[in-house]
Symmetry: C2
Subunit: 414 residues, 2 copies
């Protein structure tokens, strides 16, 4: 047995417009990958008979396993069954057991099956019916020469349940699986990460290595194909090597976020946090409080958009604001120390600056940002000049502020 190639088709004209993406493909990639199937193409196609036929024709020619989602509903727009049956030269036949199941489902909801749902009981000759415990549209599995074609409903919850319960067992195993690891990095740009990891990357062996730049952070995605029950020693080796090179720049793995790491550090130290934000406008607090259990270490925060608010809410001395202005290092330090004192927190984190497009002056154009941290025996601030439009400056400032706090917490020790 060896790994096989897969591709996914997402069916529905709404998936080709300006507002909707095929999210089912993510789930299919993950579950197929765990079984050792490599997804090589992911295609969205509309509810058009010719286009559907073209998409299935192409997919069946080039991939061992084709998984399509959508187009199995009862309306005239739902053409997946017809397209595949036509392409493979199979007659559609009413399956009485499927029909009875659909009727029973409507009865259980106190309804009579509308006539149009009868179409959902039509099955291409020879297809295996995949039961749908959550909806009326059954799935279908066809074998064509050495290819496997699965048709699933597009409703995510129905699709997921059917993949796990019916499709994966029928697909069997390739004897292999993919092991995935995400390493999360803050405080370094993509090219700097690249440069520092040149030697590690060269020795990556059989591991696929993808580097992704997000706003204010970098991800390295490692993937190794191993035998079904085997560990992934190269992934572990690379993980350790990357950690050794990047040190504190590597802040977490897989689902970790800067804010979840900060939460762990605060809990371990038994410490409380408060924040005072200007240009980030609540985004720092929002990320901190997005972590379940944040109330155990987060006291609260202020969004001090006006000078008055900086003075009244964050307890920044009037003299500091008058002398240095609200967008200054002293003001940031005053906000961090002031909010911590005010809310009885051990740590205070503050942001001030100009996000643009309004505000600022020649010396302080939009993108000028000051961060400050106040903690036990510690007060520090830094200035940043960030590129991008308003929302990018806000997002980068937020990430930079969280990372600044994380490093201060790390240094402060356990």
């Amino acid at each position: 047995m060896s790994a096989r190639s897969a591709e996914t088709l997402a069916i529905g004209s709404e998936l080709l417009g300006p507002s909707r993406l095929d999210t089912n493909g993510l789930y299919l990639s993950r579950r197929l990958g765990e079984r050792g199937f490599t997804v090589r193409f992911r295609t969205a196609v509309g509810d058009d008979p010719d286009d559907l036929r073209s998409a299935f024709d192409v997919a069946i020619r080039r991939s061992d396993v084709v998984v399509a989602t959508g187009g199995l509903g009862p309306t005239v727009d739902d053409l997946t069954r017809e397209a595949v049956a036509g392409l493979l030269g199979l007659p559609l036949e009413e399956d009485l057991a499927v029909l009875a199941g659909i009727e029973a489902r409507f009865r259980s909801l106190g309804l009579v099956m509308p006539p149009r749902n009868r179409r959902q009981a039509e099955v291409p000759r020879g297809a295996v019916v995949l039961p749908n415990p959550l909806g009326t549209a059954p799935g279908l599995l066809l074998r064509h020469q050495d290819r496997t074609i699965a048709l699933l409903p597009g409703v995510p919850a129905e699709m997921r349940a059917m993949v796990d319960a019916a499709l994966l067992p029928l697909l069997g195993t390739t004897g292999e699986r993919f092991v995935d690891r995400v390493l999360r990095i803050a405080g370094l740009g993509e090219s700097e990460v690249d440069r520092r990891l040149l030697d590690v990357h060269r020795d990556r062996g059989p591991v696929e290595w993808t580097i992704l730049a997000m706003v204010g952070q970098i991800e390295i995605h490692l993937r190794q194909k191993v035998e079904e029950k085997a560990a992934a020693p190269d992934v572990e080796r690379l993980d350790a090597a990357i950690a050794a090179v990047l040190g504190a720049h590597l802040f977490g793995r897989d689902d970790a976020t800067l804010e979840s790491v900060i939460g762990d550090l605060l809990l371990r130290r038994g410490a409380k946090l408060a924040v005072a934000e200007s240009l980030t406008g609540g985004a720092v607090a929002r990320r901190i409080t997005g972590v379940p259990g944040a109330s155990r270490y987060f006291r609260g925060g202020v969004v001090a958009y006006s000078d008055d608010a900086k003075r009244d809410l964050a307890a920044v001395p009037e003299a500091v604001l008058r002398e240095h202005g609200a967008v200054s290092e002293p003001a940031a330090l005053g906000m961090a120390a002031g909010i911590a004192a005010r809310l009885g927190a051990d740590w205070g984190l503050a942001t001030t600056g100009y996000a643009g497009p309004e505000g600022g002056d020649t010396a302080h154009p939009p993108g000028t940002v000051f961060l400050a941290v106040a903690g036990p025996g510690l007060r520090r601030a830094r200035a940043l000049t960030l590129p991008g439009d308003r929302s990018q400056v806000q997002e980068r400032s937020t990430t930079a502020a969280l990372d600044y706090l994380r490093r201060a917490l790390l240094e402060a020790g356990a």
Copy 2:
């Protein structure tokens, strides 16, 4: 001339894994649609020479216009140029003007061009170079028989700028265009919107009608194909009919957001806003301050996560907290009125509740939320019980709070 078919290819192995979707396709669908090009397929393909060749071969056979994004970088993984040149039998030639541009870009950043970036100056013979004002990878436009193939970088900001400045003018016009309209609705569920608009939907004529449910809001997408310079009378007719049926539930069109509508209402009234948040944790302030110019009407806010913070920052009377608890209608009203008074704002908006998974009790399970608004001569609060996990409850509460304020501002008149 008649409308032509288009398809998009998103290139990069990371787009086939479990964590990343091709968002560039949304922008391309919109901009191509405005010119009358119908996107019929949207495919993601990895950085594999054979797969790339297969994807381009299929696309060029079946679509008039093929727009590919990604794979134009300087690394060995970037294979788009080679794949297309190989498929079409075109030699790659170094373009000295492109090379000079890349070198100049590095120089302007105080850097010397690394040798590997030289690859980005290779151009398939006969291709038109599309300048990239924001990055080093130029785009390429090829004509092959009656097909047009565009290769663009995958970085969204670079791609967008090049589509608008270079690609669309070169694609010319189909003689038709799609007119798109998004109607944004808050405060009603999808099935209720469906029910109320049954008659309007029946009379939709030639307009494509898609209804999308987001967290806490509903969108209706209308699309009509018309001649290039023509208006879209059916879109206007449906817009007016939907507005008449839904009244204040319809809060905006196209790019409007609840927070941008709130900003307009506050500016028109010359009024200032302050917010006090508990379970939304800064998300309300974050959305308000995401609107450019928010400093003209937003005074600031507090994230009052602890009882102390509700009392000290939002000026909620101790007696209210003692008697009713922090998750109560009186506490919400106290927070809204307290923060407005404290920051000298005309309007105060407050949220309190349990987002889960921790907190709450039998009478107040996670999902219990109180909203309050205080304005000139107005104080009101409402209780909500929201479904979902922590992040869904936070997001729904935030949207509900913004909508609650919007309706109060509307009632208060101009």
